[in-house]
């Protein structure tokens, strides 16, 4: 409803770049110019697209909100009544459901929520059930952290099967075992969730190292 009538909504967002790939033979671009535009427009468009493509990379480095979790980062709740408050030792009893969290630079108080790829699943489990690799990444108190972005299609892994202690992705049913390196136990995900090794400071979870593998969909 509403908003009828001619209206432009470009909104200043440039196009992401694209590839018109050749089928066979040479990959040399054709000299032809599309009928609906001129060469200057093509070059300007290409330049704009390229800048749009390049921007995120430089922006990630420059903007601490977009930077991936760093050693020494603490965690804050991403959702719920305690959203944006620091997660301490007492906030997650062993065996409680996982929480979605953002890493935060404790010095500058910068919450790294500039990219959804920084969102983390934080869970506290009995360490007796951990395999060796998971134990090395966990705190003594049983905190472990993984990327919350499913390796299948990047959906937030927001489900928890308490009886089996399994993460569940509601989008396409992938399931991960956080006691065994978040290995895939069901569904289309091609690889485990990237782990975020932790250390404890006064019992609270703190980032020890960056993600173990690339956060994103598909193969690492």
């Amino acid at each position: 409803m509403g908003e009828n009538g001619p209206k432009a909504v470009d909104g200043g967002k440039g196009s992401m770049s694209a590839c018109s790939c050749v089928a066979r033979g040479s990959a040399t671009p054709d000299d032809g110019v599309p009928q609906s535009t001129d060469r200057r427009t093509v070059l300007a468009g290409a330049l704009a697209s390229s800048v749009a493509l390049a921007l995120p990379a430089s922006a990630v480095a420059a903007d601490p909100k977009m930077a991936r979790p760093q050693e020494g980062d603490v965690f804050v709740f991403a959702t719920g009544d305690k959203a944006r408050s620091v997660i301490g030792d007492a906030d997650l009893p062993v065996g409680s459901p996982p929480v979605l969290a953002w890493p935060m630079d404790p010095q500058t108080k910068t919450i790294r929520d500039g990219s959804r790829l920084n969102q983390v699943l934080l869970v506290r489990l009995d360490t007796a059930g951990f395999d060796e690799t998971t134990r090395e990444r966990a705190t003594e108190g049983g905190f472990v952290a993984y990327s919350a972005s499913c390796t299948h299609a990047l959906c937030p892994v927001s489900g928890w099967k308490a009886d089996k202690r399994i993460f569940h992705c509601p989008c396409h049913n992938s399931e991960f075992d956080p006691s065994h390196g978040a290995k895939v136990v069901f569904g289309p995900a091609p690889r485990p969730l990237p782990a975020l090794p932790l250390k404890a400071v006064d019992g609270a979870p703190v980032v020890a190292k960056g993600f173990t593998t690339k956060v994103g969909a598909g193969a690492a």
Binding site: M1, S15, M16, C19, S20, D30, L47, S50, V51, P170
Partner: protein
């Protein structure tokens, strides 16, 4: 030059090299521009629109492949797309040039006779894009351009001859839960699309863009703002996050210049989370394509609580009822009812609604208005554990039924005996995040009467004049693909996890031919002709909801359910040997 400027120039120039926008000399040598006349009356050998014709019949008038020779149908070429996930686009053909789309926003042009790749367009998607529905359902065609609606919420125009990107316009913001999966509808140079995002609490809309410039011409929200007609069916601020996505291509009546679009579920799922009838969710809307104005509507069911998107638009056909011919709108609903409506200059009238699969929600349907009443025990609510039939994937989801004007039969790829469980929960909406209103761990399928059913998938044939089911072919597990009827008295459909592509007698339902493919088929077949030879084409590539249903059936331990349906898309083209 300052260091910052130098860096920007370097980035720009290096990006220019990495992102070629010019096209190859390889491409389509001869291309027939797509005009309004051709869209109104497509040549029998071509497939220029998602459902081939504006009326949405998904029917081919070709008959060289028919009941007598279909047993000799063999593959003449295949093409592996190199892409996983749900390949739901029909192979569309314009004078020997085939266009397919794949998940991850790719378009491929292929020589329809030989399978030679003419060009491929790959859109570079953002690294943080999460895809609830990694798929695409095809291009729109206009003149010498193609239009692609992308999962990162852009509308893209391509040169049909080269695959070169002509323009790309943002429609909304994928970070706010908007995305596009449908094949654009093209009417008189207007490119019409509708948004996805009903599971993320968007406010749905349909919008039109100018083919040449990419400028938006109109945008019509499917949920009225306060004060607009229909706003009285919403309470408080629910309209802002009420769903009503429109993620399937509409149909169109050129005689009255009216587009008919189906509208999706209300959000979040439990109805008591958004009290009221919730117009125009789960409705068909009649739209003026020139202005976007909603001329009329009919709501199939009010206050949706079952995720029963009614996005598949009704098929425009003539139906005999009560001794007269009705200009009908026929819709096998996701809610499990077969609806017949009448389209008139005054509005959309209710004619009939009867269940075509087991449905335990409606206790009655008003004879005048078609408004159903509900069995309160099967209406999901916040804090309640409810089981209902059919499941949230419905009697038929987005998949196209097919109507043959020759047999006067409607062919419905249905699912019966599959029910669903939903435990409603109340959670705050977070923009861009999944917002189902259901406890995820308790979202299950179940079988009717908790027994292994005799069948689940069912290809049904309905005589639309007699208003009765004529035949059906039953499958032990789900059927999830569009059906296509042809003038050769055949109905083609894939959709089963055993990877078969099948042809049935349109008159009797007898299985006449089947061929095993690489993966499962969840999209629609097409028929086309090149140099006097008729071909049948389909994409095989399992994923998305077909995969979800399969996973759920696997977990139920139903005997005969294949837990491992391989992914990976392949275009298959068949001809008679």
């Amino acid at each position: 030059m300052k260091e910052g400027h130098t860096r920007w120039l370097w980035l720009a120039l290096s990006g220019l090299l990495l992102a070629p926008t010019a096209a190859s000399a390889q491409g389509v040598k001869s291309y027939a521009p797509v005009t309004q006349e051709r869209l109104n009356n497509p040549e029998p050998g071509n497939w220029l629109q998602y459902r081939r014709t504006y009326d949405g019949m998904n029917y081919s008038p070709l008959d060289k492949i028919n009941t007598t020779n279909v047993k000799n149908l063999v593959p003449v070429w295949t093409f592996s797309t190199g892409v996983n996930e749900g390949h739901q686009a029909p192979p569309m053909v314009n004078n020997g040039v085939m266009f397919i789309t794949t998940p991850q926003a790719q378009v491929l042009a292929l020589d329809a006779k030989t399978g030679d790749l003419l060009w491929r367009y790959k859109r570079q998607l953002p690294e943080d894009l999460f895809q609830l529905h990694p798929t695409n359902r095809g291009v729109g065609m206009w003149q010498d351009m193609l239009f692609l609606a992308t999962v990162d919420d852009f509308l893209v125009a391509l040169d049909a001859k080269t695959g070169k990107e002509l323009w790309a316009k943002p429609v909304g913001d994928y970070k706010k839960g908007h995305y596009l999966t449908l094949a654009p509808q093209v009417i008189n140079g207007k490119i019409i699309i509708g948004t996805s995002g009903g599971e993320l609490g968007v406010r749905g809309y349909i919008a039109a863009y100018d083919a040449k410039t990419g400028n938006q011409l109109w945008r019509t929200y499917t949920i009225p703002a306060p004060g607009e007609p229909g706003s009285e069916t919403w309470k408080g601020d629910d309209w802002k996050t009420g769903g009503g996505s429109a993620w399937m291509t509409g149909n169109y009546d050129p005689a009255t210049n009216t587009a008919y679009w189906g509208i999706g579920n209300a959000a979040p799922w439990p109805g008591d989370a958004h009290p009221g009838d919730n117009l125009y969710t789960t409705s068909v809307v009649a739209i003026d394509p020139d202005s976007g104005k909603i001329k009329h509507h009919h709501q199939y069911h009010h206050n949706d609580s079952w995720d029963w998107d009614e996005v598949d638009p009704p098929i425009l056909m003539d139906v005999q009822r009560g001794g007269r011919t009705i200009k009908a709108l026929v819709h096998p609903g996701r809610n499990g009812y077969l609806w017949t409506l009448e389209r008139t200059p005054e509005g959309i009238g209710f004619v009939s609604g009867i269940p075509y699969v087991h449905q335990d929600v409606f206790t009655s349907v008003d004879a005048k208005t078609g408004r159903p009443t509900y069995n309160d025990k099967t209406v999901p609510k916040v804090g309640k554990d409810v089981t209902f039939c059919p499941s949230l994937w419905g009697g038929k989801d987005w998949l196209s039924a097919s109507y043959s004007p020759k047999t006067k039969m409607l062919y419905i790829p249905a699912n019966d005996n599959i029910c669903g469980r939903l435990v409603g929960e109340k959670k705050p909406h977070v923009e861009g995040q999944l917002w189902l209103g259901a406890e995820l761990e308790k979202l299950d399928l179940s079988m009717r009467d908790k027994k292994v059913p005799e069948y689940m998938g069912e290809l049904q044939a309905w005589d639309m004049n007699a208003h009765k089911k004529v035949w059906s072919y039953k499958f032990p597990t789900q059927l999830f693909a569009s059906a296509m009827a042809t003038a050769g008295d055949l109905v083609f459909v894939g959709g089963t996890s055993d990877r078969y592509f099948r042809a049935f007698s349109a008159q009797t339902g007898e299985l006449l031919w089947q061929h095993r493919t690489n993966s499962g088929i969840s999209g629609g077949p097409t028929a086309f002709e090149v140099d006097g030879v008729q071909y049948i084409a389909v994409q095989s590539g399992w994923g998305v909801d077909a995969q979800r249903i399969q996973d759920s059936l696997t977990k139920l331990g139903i005997p005969g359910v294949n837990p491992d349906v391989p992914q990976g898309g392949v275009v298959w083209v068949f001809a008679v040997k």
